[in-house]
């Protein structure tokens, strides 16, 4: 093991250019993967924000008194998936409506009585924000005593779900494509660095070195390419993030997870890339 480590570092020292180039390529590849992950994380965050807009409005019959309302509220809260419930009185509803129409006072002044019903605004837990779950909870509420009508923007939920599914699938496809491209690039590059040393490997075999003995330093080398590549990629990514946040706020950069992920992925990639590439050279 000591020998392998020594060898790996000797190789870095002796072949500075190659080492530099390979780490460069690894950095670039891992950077692209990191960039993708960063975009994905923020995309998921945006999706979350959109999801907060999903809510159910339950309009109440006009004949409900305070006690009934409270009872109903408690009843609704017992439904699985309901997170929060807010009561909107007739007056509050009119107030909000007036605000919406404040640009067209003509229209507002045309309304003489308060035609709006009182309602509950019901927020759901995130995992219940699918088309099916919302529909199910809505119909449960609709069947309750004192509920006149339930509305939850069926179209909005449906569209939101479509966008989310589409976005996630597209993101996955992009991610797989980018991931494969990066793996391909890194392992090809490692193979190229091995080709520059094909002669040395040949000589080692002739002098009586076993495959494992030859292989070990190369695996370590691959590992270090990934380690350094991952580290530098993280630095560049973080730098870019800092640059972007000067203008755009609210971008998320989960340092530990992202850096950790990139570095570990890099190490595995480098190690396995080396392992696969060297096989061909070790055939006896």
């Amino acid at each position: 093991m000591g020998y392998a480590v020594n060898e790996a570092f000797r190789s870095f020292k002796e072949r500075k250019t190659t080492t530099f180039l390979t780490i460069g390529v690894t950095t670039a590849s891992l950077f692209i993967i990191g960039l993708f992950l960063l975009v994905t994380v923020n995309l998921l965050e945006i999706i979350d924000i959109f999801k907060t807009r999903v809510e159910i409005t339950a309009f109440l019959k006009d004949d409900m008194d305070k006690e009934n309302i409270e009872k109903l509220q408690k009843e609704i809260l017992t439904i699985g998936g309901v997170e929060e419930i807010v009561f909107i009185s007739k007056e509050k509803a009119m107030e909000e409506f007036s605000k919406e129409l404040q640009d067209t006072p003509e229209l507002l002044s045309a309304i003489k009585t308060n035609p709006l019903p009182a309602s509950f605004r019901i927020k759901l837990e995130d995992r219940f924000k699918t088309k099916e779950a919302v529909a199910k909870i809505s119909s449960m509420i609709e069947n309750m005593l004192g509920v006149e009508e339930v509305r939850y923007g069926e179209k909005t939920v449906e569209r939101l779900q479509k966008i989310i599914t589409g976005g996630v699938i597209l993101d996955l496809i992009l991610g797989i494509a980018l991931g494969l491209a990066s793996i391909f690039v890194v392992s090809n590059t490692i193979k190229l660095t091995l080709i520059t040393r094909g002669d040395a490997i040949e000589i080692m075999k002739l002098v009586g070195a076993k495959s494992g003995f030859i292989r070990r330093p190369f695996l370590l080398e691959g590992f270090f390419y990934g380690l350094f590549g991952g580290f530098f990629a993280s630095c560049v990514l973080f730098g870019l993030y800092k640059l972007v946040t000067i203008k755009f706020h609210g971008i998320i950069f989960p340092v530990k997870e992202l850096v950790g992920g990139i570095v570990i992925f890099g190490c595995v990639l480098g190690y396995i890339g080396s392992a696969i590439s060297i096989r061909k050279f070790l055939k006896m």
């Binding site: 190789s11 040395a200 000589i203 075999k205 002739l206 002098v207 009586g208 070195a209 495959s211 006896m284």
Partner: protein
């Protein structure tokens, strides 16, 4: 019998045999010259012994390893017991002189201290101590050849295959090298040396195997040669 060729032929290119029906036996402890013009097949014959090339037909047995039954993972073990001085040196260009010689001990997993002592010994024998931290491209042709020799000697092999080991050194150096070879031969190492240097061959009472066009044309016993000297 430490090396035994049985009906060995080697075909690199169709319809043309680099080695043709070679039968040859080399005893433990022998010192034999392999003589022959350029392209006769000397290097090919040596390559077959250290299993760099496999015979097209026939069978070779080296130290109980047979070309017919040896497994890939045994080849390194064979090669640790067979020291080879390659005609084109085959030095590792990214290691200095010391490390090149040390390498053939490192592969055996020898202790660091032992390696250091042995390598320095060999460097002294070859008068290369002052070049020990230079890289192959930083030393002269003759010095490179000596490093190649050192790498083969340092592991105290059972068999030493020397392919033209004096082609790049001056007459004085040649003599020193031959003396080294005679020494380790006296200690029991079997030596097979391919050479063009008739002066050396003539001056030493060892077996001479002559090759031509891939065939063995003559095989003069050391004893008989001694008498005729």
């Amino acid at each position: 019998m430490i090396i035994e060729f049985k009906d060995i032929s080697k075909v690199y290119k169709k319809d043309w045999r680099a080695l043709n029906d070679i039968n040859l036996e080399i005893d433990k402890g022998e010192f034999a010259f392999l003589l022959g013009p350029t392209g006769a097949g000397k290097s090919t014959l040596l390559k077959i012994i250290y299993m760099d090339e496999r015979p097209t037909t026939g069978e070779i047995t080296v130290l109980n390893y047979s070309s017919k039954t040896i497994k890939g993972k045994d080849i390194p073990h064979l090669r640790r017991k067979v020291g080879v001085i390659f005609q084109d040196f085959k030095l590792l260009s990214d290691r200095n002189v010391f490390d090149n010689i040390a390498f053939s001990l490192e592969v055996t997993g020898a202790a660091k201290k032992y390696i250091k002592r042995k390598v320095l010994e060999v460097l002294t024998d070859l008068r290369l101590q002052h070049r020990r931290s230079q890289y192959p491209y930083q030393i002269s042709g003759g010095e490179q050849q000596k490093v190649a020799i050192g790498r083969a000697l340092v592991k105290e092999p059972f068999i030493l295959l020397a392919d033209e080991p004096t082609g790049n050194v001056d007459p004085e150096g040649s003599e020193e090298i031959i003396d080294l070879l005679k020494d380790i031969n006296a200690k029991g190492t079997t030596i097979l040396m391919a050479t063009h240097n008739l002066d050396i061959v003539k001056s030493l009472p060892f077996r001479v195997i002559s090759m031509e066009h891939g065939e063995i044309k003559g095989d003069e016993d050391g004893l008989r040669r001694k008498r005729s000297l």
